[in-house]
């Protein structure tokens, strides 16, 4: 297929430290010509740091980088691009309000008499994109195209500018299956052209589909590099998290709740958000919520938590009617809510891990009764240890933590309020395998402690694993409810897909 000793890029004993942590500890990495090399590891393992050292975004403390056998020292990403290393990030880093052609040739537009030759630029753009099987109006704004197309435009620009090494940092995170297939066709074509491609992702299926070799990092150290064909999934997961984990998920099937009925919502809804629904939640129960994007999952959570006020129906807790007009009211009733969008609705980025953990508890106590610094430290240290939040210390701004650790800190924020009803919206999205398993375990242990939980997830297997009941949503309405033995991935998919009645209407027992 390709010559095996032909390294296009070698990183030798790369070291990078940040105050308090060693982000990379003498990491070696080799990329061959014409291979797709998956770079894997938990969040915080050092993947991004390694990429940033390779592209000059960070200055490495020591170690050397060889490109085509010649030692290089990229000063910044622009320099790296000039040397031949291009990067495409998950969030497309192009300019949405410029045309496709302008994005492709920004900063190097063809000129005629000192003016930008738009016609020539558009022609060149069409030719360039034709190599990627893309036939589109290059004079249209980039923003008018799907993320997948934008992704390809970004790749086309990066390859055109650099042409030796292409780094894809979670390019598929927001793409659907069809778009991933399109992207992979392009990756294979670039590989055939002899590019070295570094591929970072959280999706292990995609790793097995596209990559030739896998390098795993853990805690800033190199665990190893293997041929993909010789590495089975269980071994890979073990390399990534350093312990057998596969058994921990899907172990037992939680039995349907025998706890007492605590939360009773009748005809609860909000016009334009979610159709009125009935929902009962018992103590010690996990109600999973399944449905496609836009089916009303998040809207259900927001109405239950009072983030958007319900305009119909009643809520009862332990048989007593309650009003939940705002998050504050819900929190006073011992509710907690981890929102789906961690960055915009969850973390308070500039504040420390400690402050983020005590925030909800402090808000509930009111500003006149501050939690003493000693108590704050105790709470923060307790949850940093209990949930294994990886941070140099509790005073580190939370925005510097990896996604999984941020999610744990948000969970800690609610656990500190000793909640009785916890709503988790996509608690495992975008976080690595290790943190994923820990959060699933946490959900189960909270249920065992008698909490009532509502968990929204796109991962049906995961819902099956921990739910005692699953509510299925479609078109902003609750359309089915599954319990006991009927909670299977097959039944959930059926219910989501069914045109009319996938199961009985929820609530009527």
């Amino acid at each position: 297929m390709h010559s095996t000793s032909d390294n296009i890029l070698s990183a030798v004993r790369i070291e990078k430290g940040f105050p308090g942590t060693k982000a990379l500890d003498k990491v070696d990495f080799q990329l061959r010509r014409g291979e797709v090399h998956a770079l894997l590891g938990e969040n915080g393992a050092g993947k991004s740091t390694l990429i940033k050292c390779l592209t000059g975004a960070y200055r490495r403390d020591s170690g050397s980088i060889l490109l085509d056998g010649v030692e290089v020292d990229p000063r910044d990403t622009f320099d790296a691009q000039r040397l031949g290393i291009g990067t495409v990030y998950q969030e497309v880093n192009l300019l949405p309000n410029l045309t496709v052609a302008e994005n492709l040739f920004l900063g190097r537009q063809p000129r005629r008499f000192g003016m930008i030759d738009t016609r020539a630029m558009n022609r060149m753009a069409r030719e360039l994109l034709a190599e990627y099987e893309l036939d589109l109006d290059v004079t249209g704004d980039l923003a008018s195209y799907s993320v997948a197309i934008q992704q390809v435009v970004a790749i086309a620009r990066a390859v055109d500018l650099s042409g030796k090494v292409l780094i894809l940092d979670e390019p598929t995170a927001s793409l659907d299956a069809h778009e991933v297939a399109m992207l992979f066709r392009i990756v294979r074509r670039l590989k055939a052209r002899g590019l070295g491609i570094i591929f970072i992702t959280h999706f292990l299926e995609q790793v097995y589909e596209i990559s030739d070799r896998i390098t795993v990092l853990r805690n800033g150290q190199l665990v190893g590099t293997r041929e993909t064909a010789d590495l089975d999934r269980r071994d890979l997961i073990t390399m990534m998290i350093g312990r057998e984990l596969a058994d921990e998920i899907h172990t037992h099937h939680a039995s349907a709740g025998e706890g007492r009925l605590r939360y009773r919502f009748r005809n609860y809804g909000r016009r334009g958000h979610i159709e009125p629904f009935d929902l009962d939640v018992r103590a010690g129960e996990v109600v999973g919520i399944a449905g496609l994007l836009g089916s009303g999952r998040t809207e259900t959570a927001e109405v239950l938590f009072g983030a958007h006020r319900a305009d119909s129906g009643t809520a009862e807790i332990d048989g007593r009617a309650v009003d939940l007009p705002s998050p504050r009211a819900a929190i006073r009733r011992k509710f907690g809510f981890c929102p789906e969008d961690r960055k915009t609705a969850g973390i308070v980025g500039d504040l420390s891990v400690r402050e983020n953990i005590v925030l909800a508890l402090q808000a509930r106590r009111g500003w006149t009764r501050p939690i003493s610094r000693t108590e704050q430290n105790r709470l923060a240290d307790h949850y940093i240890r209990a949930l294994d939040i990886r941070t140099a210390d509790r005073e580190k701004p939370i925005k510097l933590l990896s996604g999984g650790n941020q999610q744990k800190a948000i969970l800690a924020r609610w656990l500190a309020t000793e909640p009785e009803f916890l709503i988790l919206d996509e608690p495992t999205r975008g976080i690595d395998v290790g943190a994923h398993a820990e959060i699933v375990k946490l959900i189960e242990s909270l249920r065992e402690r008698g909490l009532s939980l509502i968990v929204i997830s796109s991962e049906i297997e995961e819902l099956v694993a921990y739910s005692t009941r699953v509510v299925v949503l479609r078109d902003r309405a609750h359309v089915a409810e599954l319990d006991g033995e009927r909670i299977t991935a097959h039944n959930i998919v059926e219910a989501i897909a069914a045109a009319n009645e996938g199961g009985r209407r929820d609530g009527d027992r």
């Binding site: 430290g17 105050p19 308090g20 938590f305 983030a307 998050p327 504050r328 929190i331 809510f337 929102p339 915009t344 609705a345 969850g346 973390i347 308070v348 980025g349 500039d350 504040l351 402050e355 925030l359 909800a360 402090q362 808000a363 509930r364 106590r365 009111g366 500003w367 006149t368 009764r369 501050p370 939690i371 140099a392 210390d393 924020r413």
Partner: protein
Amino acid sequence: MTATVRTYLRRLLPQLIALAVIVIAISMVFPGFLSLQIQNGRLYGSLIDILNRGAPVVLLAIGMTVVIATKGIDLSVGAVMAICGAVAASLITSGHSLAETLLATLVVGILCGVWNGLLVAILDIQPIIATLVLMVAGRGIAQLVTEGAILTFNHPGLIFIGSGSFAGLPMPVVIWLIFGVLVALLVRQTALGMLIEAIGVNRQASTLSGVLTPVLLIAAYVLSGLCAAIAGIIAAADIRGADANNAGLWLELDAILAVVVGGTSLLGGRFSIAASVLGAIIIQAINTGILLSGFPPEFNLIIKAAIIVFILVLQSPRFRTAFTFVRLPRATGKPTEREAK
């Protein structure tokens, strides 16, 4: 405890250094600058003069800091000063007692803050636009109150606030010192400071965590209005009259500058009242220093701008990164050292 003091000092260090450099520079040009005399039980001297002249901007900066920490801005404070000065002057000249006058004036300032706060917190108007309304309308209101004239007064009690002294210090200095300490204690001894910072960094996440966002936002603008009212009273008392056109003119910009020189980001979040107060003093020291050193007045604004650009460069993240990079070997050792103690 010592660790807290040390982090506190580290936060204020750039401002303290800037102030020291400016004071030393002026005293080299103008030798009498550092001398202090006591006459009739009161301190006199250029340094005291700086603290005294700076009082309005210091007060405005205290309120502005809290507003900016919520990711807002209050452009109306200069106009609110004018309104409050006018209200105080017209009440005292129409025969109301000093207590009534002061109370009513402070209430007017608070109402101005409530107005701004409602626009920002409830109607969700961008702070810069919301407070621009009162910035423009405020001078008109002040002119209505004074009926277009400069309202002068002779009430000794009110004049005392502008030019009297207490414990050897001019009254304006006493007022801002006490008020500043009270506000700093209020935000740091309660949870207000943290909650305000949380709102400024991420309003949505804070609301979802149960923080009473609208009330705290309104409170921030109310504090700013109250600060402007006190500053307005001092400014009016100082000139023994209310000038609707010129009282507090452009001072909102000096207050914002003081906050920025104090190192609080206009993007909201982390704030320090003490640093903003230092920022205001730095600005006043520059003003006084330029006047004293006898430069032609036309140079004043340019020199002031140059000094401020220099201070801002010292604070810029990029400059700091470059600076830390040079000292990296020592910097990495610090966290462990702190943990050991």
